[in-house]
């Protein structure tokens, strides 16, 4: 029954999505309240049915209903209960249903906030926003129902299922996809606001002010989601990297870069009325990249262009939908472009200019990631050979582009709107500059095997941290009040986060110590100040795997530090997983994982032993960025009705 009920719920949700798209648009056009209201009701109804479908699929996993092919392929009798929940979105069909659920959640959030009496949104505007969100939802629901139905039956039902991909059997992976999807899909709201503004023909500062808190919330989720993914890869993939420039990662990183550019462009449009067209385009770009990411990850095109070509329904559908969304938006944009107002002018040195440079750099960086990600696919599709793009391409290009960006970040905070003097700003920033230089100098002394890149990274990170702090302190002194506006606090916190992140990255990338060595029981190895003693490995049985578990006693100058138990697991489906063991710390992580077994009889293993200085700072920095964005969306001016009376802070 579960399967049939699920189908029914999905079909009802699809019908409601049609209603949500059509009626509010007609209502806004004819200025008919009742029609506009349909949007809200349809959004709530749609959410209910999508949630029912999702709950039924979850129930099928909990009760191990292997007559549903998706459950049979991604679960088995031994799968621990916790992972039966995360298995719901662990593969293609379920993850798309999850995509729709998240979109539906964002939609009702918009519906609820816009239905409140003190809502800032005019009702025609919120009607159009809901219609756009309804259209996107419709596109995905049709995709789920016709090409990727998670409720498809198999007959006869197998006695036992396959298994959930063991890479996904990890607590970190339970909350990584929801966070990432909240971010990804959240850009749909900023997109819907932009399209609603374009349809309504009133492209002014207001819609940007309404759109900002939603963009910030989506960006916060995306930042957090990407960071979780990085953290998971670090301890789960068994070789201690935190970012791989893998196409799947790039798929989530591209919307993030565009979203970051959007956040900054929105500030200019909201405060100064400039860059309106650019902000609209970035809203469209950020969401288009989210869709492209879904296409890349979900169409199978990454594993092989040929796999995609042999079963093209899914890929072609997403590609066509992508075409409709991007093409339609751009046509609408072109039609409206003559009506767009020009904002206030600005001189060559002003906050506007600095944010313009920020946006240019970010967009070039995004384009460069896009090029590196798509190039192999395009080359393969046109028969130019099987190519992959090595991580050094991304690392080099991204690093180069970030240098000017990081240098101007504190200037951007200090720079005044419209017109400023470089000399004034530099005077203000002299102290942070000196402090950063001093810290960088000290780091050359105190950090083991620091090289020029380490010192440059520490300098850049300190420059951001102290530049932002100095700004916060000077501003609060001038304001003569305790708290700065939330928007400014947000900027300070997020920029400090980037500084912390940068220090983490440069320390890890330039001063990590990584040793790969063969070890037998009784062997010990000295890594910097730590001594790792391998006492042996034993065989253990997990719920759906069996494993070899090694024991490593770590000491420092004869004092016990910790004992680490890395595992090598074999899962039922034949996969082998390396479970690293680590001892985390604010200034260093110790990391041990078992490589291949050289000699089973003597328990001789190839072993990875790493010391990763400051790696926690990478994720700490992203937490600051996330928190900054959350603070930013609480700013009081987002809840005021009229910009023109508002004093720009």
């Amino acid at each position: 029954m579960i399967g049939e009920l699920g189908q029914l719920a999905l079909i009802l949700a699809t019908l409601l999505a049609i209603a949500q798209t059509v009626f509010p648009l007609i209502g806004a056009w004819l200025n008919n309240n009742a029609y506009m209201q349909v949007g809200h009701s349809a959004a709530y109804g749609q959410f209910v049915f999508v949630a029912i479908a999702f709950a039924l699929l979850t129930w099928a996993f909990i009760t191990q209903d292997f007559s549903i092919s998706y459950v049979a392929n991604n679960s088995n009798l031994h799968l621990p209960m916790l992972y039966r929940f995360s298995a719901v979105w662990g593969a293609h069909e379920g993850s798309l249903l999850f995509w729709v659920l998240i979109l539906s959640l964002w939609t009702i959030l918009v519906a609820i906030t816009s239905a409140r009496k003190n809502s800032v949104l005019p009702k025609e505007f919120s009607a159009r926003v809901l219609a756009v969100l309804g259209f996107i939802s419709l596109g995905f629901l049709l995709f789920v129902v016709f090409t990727s139905n998670p409720f498809t039956r198999i007959l006869p039902a197998p006695m036992d299922g396959a298994d959930l991909n063991p890479l996904l059997q990890d607590p970190g992976l339970i909350i990584h996809p929801p966070m990432l999807y909240m971010g990804y899909v959240g850009f749909a709201v900023a997109f819907a606001f932009a399209i609603a503004a374009l349809i309504g023909g009133k492209m002014d500062r207001d819609w940007v002010r309404w759109s900002r808190p939603w963009t910030q919330l989506a960006w916060a989720f995306l930042t957090f989601g990407i960071a979780l993914g990085s953290w998971w890869a670090y301890y789960e993939l068994g070789w201690g990297g935190w970012w791989f420039w893998d196409p799947v990662e790039n798929a989530s990183f591209m919307p993030w870069i565009a979203g970051t550019a959007l956040l900054h462009a929105q500030a200019v449009t909201e405060k100064r009325g400039a860059f309106i067209g650019w902000t609209l385009l970035l809203s469209i770009t950020a969401f288009s990249l989210s869709l492209l990411g879904t296409f890349l990850v979900r169409s199978g095109v990454l594993t092989s262009v040929h796999a995609f070509a042999s079963d093209p329904t899914r890929g072609v559908y997403i590609l066509a939908f992508l075409g409709v969304v991007i093409g339609g938006s751009l046509v609408l944009y072109a039609l409206r472009a003559p009506k767009m107002t020009r904002g206030g002018g600005f001189s060559w040195f002003s906050r506007e200019t600095l944010i313009l440079i920020n946006n240019l750099i970010l967009i070039v960086a995004m384009a460069m990631v896009l090029l590196g990600t798509l190039y192999p696919l395009i080359a393969d599709a046109f028969g130019l050979g099987k190519i992959s793009v090595g991580p050094p391409y991304f690392g080099l290009m991204f690093g180069l582009l970030m240098i000017p960006l990081v240098l101007i970040m504190p200037l951007g905070a200090y720079g005044r709107w419209k017109q400023d003097k470089l000399s004034r700003v530099s005077r203000q920033l002299l102290l942070p500059l000196l402090i950063s230089a001093a810290i960088a100098g000290l780091s050359a002394w105190f950090i083991d095997n620091a090289n020029l890149r380490t010192i440059a990274g520490v300098f850049a990170g300190s420059w951001l941290i102290f530049g932002s702090l100095a700004y916060a302190i000077q501003r609060s002194m001038k304001q003569r009040r305790k708290w700065l506006p939330a928007g400014e606090v947000a900027m300070v916190i997020a920029h400090i986060g980037v500084g912390i992140f940068l220090i983490g990255v440069s320390m890890v990338e330039t001063t990590s110590i990584e040793k790969h060595i063969p070890m037998s029981p009784g062997d010990s190895f000295q890594l910097a100040e730590y001594k790792f003693e391998f006492t042996g490995s034993e065989h253990i049985e997990g719920p759906n795997y069996s494993a070899d578990r090694g024991t490593f006693i770590v000491t420092k100058n004869g004092q016990a530090v910790t004992t680490l138990y890395p595992e090598k697991r074999s899962y039922r489906r034949g996969q082998v997983m390396t479970e690293a063991a680590l001892d985390p710390g604010l200034t260093r992580d110790l990391y041990v994982s078992l490589g291949d077994q050289i000699d089973a009889e003597n328990q001789r293993w190839a072993v990875r032993i790493y010391k990763k200085p400051f790696i926690r700072w990478i994720w700490l920095g992203t937490l600051f960025m996330t928190f900054g964005a959350l603070v930013g969306m609480t700013d009081r001016r987002f809840r005021r009705k009229n910009t023109d009376k508002a004093v720009s802070a």
Binding site: W348, I387, G390, P391, L401, K568
Partner: protein
């Protein structure tokens, strides 16, 4: 041309110059980091010069693995059924590295024609083969090519 227009033109040119430089660097960096996939048959047919990085893919030949006890040094042969390439590696092997398994090695040929691998990749699933490897095996007429077709 009015002074404001002149100024604007300058700004636009400056932006174009900046973006142009970035694109030029990106393309040259991309060129340098492109790794082609080459099958053993093509390596033997003298398609690859020494010291040029590429990705070699195929099956680890049965009985070809020789490993040292005191270090991580290992030697093996990668085959597509038609041609063989000797590979030397001195690092940790992936979890599913074993004889008969499809792998991809990244590295370059040395002067003796031995492929010095910097990295060896295998999939996490023993029934799964990288589509590139499957494709190479198919071209060489190897029976294991079908393995790659499984999802």
């Amino acid at each position: 041309m009015t002074p404001t227009r002149k100024k604007r033109l300058k700004v636009v040119l400056l932006i174009l110059l900046g973006v142009g430089t970035a694109v030029a660097i990106a393309i040259s960096a991309l060129q340098e980091n492109l790794l082609y996939f080459v099958s053993p048959t093509d390596v033997v047919a003298q398609k690859m010069p020494a010291e040029k990085q590429f990705r070699l893919g195929g099956l680890v030949k049965d009985g070809s693995v020789i490993r040292a006890q005191e270090s991580l040094e290992i030697q093996f042969v990668v085959t597509d059924g038609r041609a063989n390439v000797a590979v030397a590696f001195n690092d940790i092997l992936p979890d599913l590295f074993r004889e008969g398994q499809g792998i991809i090695a990244i590295g370059a040929l040395d002067k003796n024609g031995v492929f010095q691998a910097d990295e060896v990749l295998a999939k996490h699933d023993e029934n799964y083969m990288s589509p590139e490897v499957a494709d190479a095996l198919e071209k060489a007429g190897h029976p294991d090519a079908q393995k790659g077709k499984q999802p």
